[in-house]
């Protein structure tokens, strides 16, 4: 009796120790393995094993077994029918512990070849609440090793094992759900920031597969007719292959996707082989579970997401809730992307209309202009023919008619010049802005009293073709003058935009209406009457655009107009000048910005530079340079004086805006050459060659 009490007490202590150990383990498989070891070690039993009831409730499947017999049986997927003739099967069916004291005499005992030494066995059900989730088998090599009271002692431990198992299952579920929620949150967050549907969908399938660790994900969108769900993005190689095939599924009940769209609700197939509506897809042979989630926005179906796992029963009903949230985020993102696309399309349409409108307006202006300029010619010629035919030619009238023809032709030629200017080859370089503005003003006869030029040293150079920019700025200055400006102010300064200079031409002329401001960049549009061809500003804009710049205009009637040109900033170039054979230069110029630059560039050379604007006496020099832009003198007077002194043969006229007429004019006057003005050391070297 005392032995029996001591034994029972030892069993209870051991059971308590075992229970203490197992309740802290959260992984079910580790829990089971540790339990069978603890039971055998604490109680000194031959074998212990743990079975769990399968999903169908038909078999008890071995999940952990002590030692080599356990490993062998696990390998052989050992399972016992519930309610069958095994101790385990019977104990589960009856929800009661059983002992077989002489296993050979126990009718229900299954003779197990892996455990040949077993002489006693105890089977205890693992019960959670009312449900039997599995059973524990404990076996001994001794006959009659277990007593009835031992059942109570070990059942307590089995109950705690069942609770620990239940806890670990719940923990695993909670952990999984937390992971899913985090992943859903990540998907939601990442997808809503992508606004291009062509990027959104492929990135979303990637995010889903990575976040959930899934075999495959695909996104279908409904076609325009709403009849088919077309695959728009698919994960991995399978996705790529299906996209290449133009994979699509009919909306309806033939596929999970089709059905989920038709019914507007999520569907899961836990073993896809058994799911009637599942589409057996040769591209996805390993799919064992699939979930299809509809993409719905504002009650309207947009498509569906398919999520597939290579594991059976990978999804639970709970997952639907989590993943539906993700699908809702995705639907919002798709809708946003669609809206952006619609906006872009609307914007393109507006732009197309505006371009058409601008072209039509420009063509109308051009047609009107050409009609008006050619009409006097054709009309006068027709009249002259009639007069000659009738023999009644009046000489005075004839002279007037010739003037009419000549004036119309001259206006047409001016337009040709503006058009040619814009198509001339551009040679962009760093040019001295102040010099360009002064030259442009001189070409357009804008006096120094009207013009004020202020250039910030940081905006001294811009990158452009000097001839073209002189023409463009000249056009703007001329517009200002023709608008009756008494003051024209040109300022240049660097802008906040890196490497960009703003050139501002402000006048206090008549200004223009809002309507005119909108049309002012159109060719042939002019607010200044019929003698103007309306090409000045369009030609200026063309030049500025070709120089990678841009232009803007603001104006107020009665107050004036401001044209702002934004040009790439240039820089000074202190490259050393190679003098060649030239030892002395006479520069005929006033002391303007370019003359100062030229003197600076020649510093450090052996060239003797003399600068003068005195036409009475010319100092001796190897080379005479004449700046076309001299405010104090008329160029014709300079050339006449040089001619008189016999010095034209070593005179070069320098201009920032070269054109054939000017070149011809100066060469015919007898100068040695006409050259483009140098703004850098290397350019001076070229000139001196």
């Amino acid at each position: 009796m005392t032995n029996s009490i001591e034994r029972h007490a030892t069993l209870l202590k051991a059971a308590a120790r075992a229970a203490k150990n197992i309740t802290t383990i959260l992984d079910p498989l580790v829990l089971f393995e540790r339990t069978v070891d603890i039971i055998c070690d604490e109680f000194g039993f031959y074998y212990a094993g743990i079975f769990l009831v399968d999903e169908a409730g038909q078999f008890a499947v071995l999940k952990a077994g002590r030692g080599e017999p356990g490993r062998d049986m696990l390998k052989g997927e050992h399972k016992l029918a519930i309610g069958g003739n095994s101790m385990i099967g019977a104990c589960i069916a009856n929800k009661q512990g059983r002992i077989a004291l002489d296993v050979g005499a126990e009718a229900v005992f299954f003779e197990n070849p892996h455990l040949p030494k077993t002489r006693s066995e105890m089977a205890l059900p693992l019960i959670v609440g009312e449900e039997v989730v599995g059973a524990l088998t404990v076996q001994s090599t001794e006959e009659a090793a277990f007593h009835e009271e031992d059942i109570a002692a070990l059942q307590t431990m089995a109950d705690q094992l069942a609770i620990a198992y239940q806890n670990s299952k719940l923990h695993k579920q909670a952990e999984r759900r937390s992971r899913l929620l985090k992943a859903a949150n990540r998907v939601g967050k990442e997808v809503t920031s992508i606004l291009d549907v062509e990027k959104l969908l492929p990135q979303t399938v990637n995010i889903i597969c990575e976040a959930y660790g899934l075999y495959y994900a695909g996104i279908f969108l409904l076609d325009a007719a709403g009849e088919y769900a077309e695959l728009r993005a698919g994960y991995g190689k399978a996705g790529k292959a299906m996209l290449a095939d133009g994979h699509k599924l009919k909306v309806g009940t033939d596929s999970m996707i089709g059905a989920c769209i038709a019914m507007g609700e999520a569907r899961i197939a836990l073993d896809v082989g058994e799911e009637r509506v599942h589409f057996k897809n040769p591209n996805l042979p390993h799919t064992r579970s699939e979930m299809a989630l509809p993409l719905i926005y504002g009650g309207k179906p947009l498509g569906a997401v398919t999520i597939q796992s290579s594991e059976e029963r990978a999804f639970t009903e709970d997952d639907i809730t989590t993943l539906t949230t993700m699908a809702e985020h995705l639907a919002v993102a798709i809708n946003n992307a669609h809206l952006i696309d619609e906006l872009k399309e609307a914007h393109t349409e507006i732009l197309r209309n505006k371009v058409f409108e601008a072209l039509t307006s420009a063509s109308t202006e051009a047609i009107h202009w050409i009609g008006n300029k050619t009409l006097p010619i054709s009309l006068t010629v027709a009249r002259l023919r009639e007069e000659i035919a009738s023999g009644q030619v009046d000489v005075e009238s004839l002279k007037e008619d010739l003037d009419l023809i000549s004036e119309s032709a001259a206006q047409i030629i001016q337009v040709k010049e503006q058009l040619i200017g814009a198509v001339r080859e551009m040679k962009p370089r760093s040019i001295l802005l102040a010099d360009i503005v002064q030259t442009a003003a001189q070409h357009r006869s804008i006096s120094n009293q009207t013009l004020r030029v202020q250039v910030d040293p940081a905006a001294a150079y811009v990158i452009a073709d000097s001839t073209q920019l002189t023409r463009a700025i000249g056009n703007i200055l001329q517009n200002a003058a023709e608008a009756g400006a008494k003051s024209i102010q040109v300022t240049a300064r660097p802008t906040e935009e890196r490497g960009v200079v703003e050139i501002r031409v402000e006048d206090d002329g008549a200004g223009m209406s809002v309507e005119s401001q909108q049309k002012v960049w159109s060719p042939f549009y002019s607010t200044r009457g019929t003698a103007h061809h309306g090409l000045g500003l369009p030609a200026a804009l063309h030049v500025v655009s070709q120089s990678q710049g841009r232009a803007a205009l603001v104006s107020e009637e009665g107050k004036g107009t401001t044209v702002a040109i934004f040009m790439p900033r240039g820089k000074s170039n202190d490259q050393a000048v190679e003098a060649g054979n030239v030892k002395s230069i006479l520069l005929i110029d006033d002391n303007d910005d370019w003359a100062k630059l030229f003197a600076e560039l020649l510093k450090g050379t052996k060239i003797k530079l003399t600068q003068s604007a005195d036409l009475q006496k010319f100092p001796e020099a190897d080379l005479i340079l004449v700046d076309e832009n001299i405010a104090a003198l008329a160029l014709t007077d300079v050339l006449a004086a040089l001619s008189k002194a016999g010095l034209l043969a070593k005179t070069i006229v320098l201009t920032s805006a070269i054109n054939p007429e000017r070149v011809t004019q100066f060469l015919r006057a007898g100068v040695k050459d006409v050259a483009i003005k140098p703004y850098a050391g290397g350019e001076v070297s070229e000139l001196l060659k």
Partner: protein, 128 residues
């Protein structure tokens, strides 16, 4: 003597048309915008037999306007409802032509086909 009111802001067009009309034996009164056209007509309401008006020219406020000739047409018709009017344009725009006729113009004449203008004037005056 038949008198024509010719309103066109293009000086060269105006003068060459004037000379053509003079040579055809008409008296010509000229103006270069809506305001002066209206004023010249007001002083010669009964003397003018037909008006030839440019379509695009400075409007009554002096700014260039597409279709300003139609505004002048309305103005002249108010002064004398039965005045024959020809609208001159460089651009053969059907909708503008329809508008001109709806507002009482007798003809819409596209510049560049001017040789027929004298015949057109004669034809309109004959029908009147």
């Amino acid at each position: 003597m038949t008198t024509i009111l010719l309103v066109d802001d293009e000086k060269l067009v105006q003068r060459s048309l004037e000379k053509t009309m003079l040579r055809a034996g008409y008296d010509v009164l000229t103006a270069e915008d809506c305001q002066s056209g209206s004023a010249v007509f007001a002083q010669n309401v009964q003397a003018v037999d037909i008006a030839v008006l440019d379509l695009n020219m400075p409007s009554f406020d002096g700014t260039p306007k597409n279709g300003a000739g139609l505004d002048l047409l309305d103005d002249l018709k108010k002064q004398r409802a039965n005045l024959p009017v020809i609208i001159l344009t460089a651009y053969d725009e059907v909708s503008k032509a329809k508008d001109a006729v709806a507002r009482g113009a007798n003809a819409f004449f596209v510049k560049g086909r001017e040789q027929g203008l004298v015949e057109l004037v004669q034809k309109i005056l004959k029908n009147e």
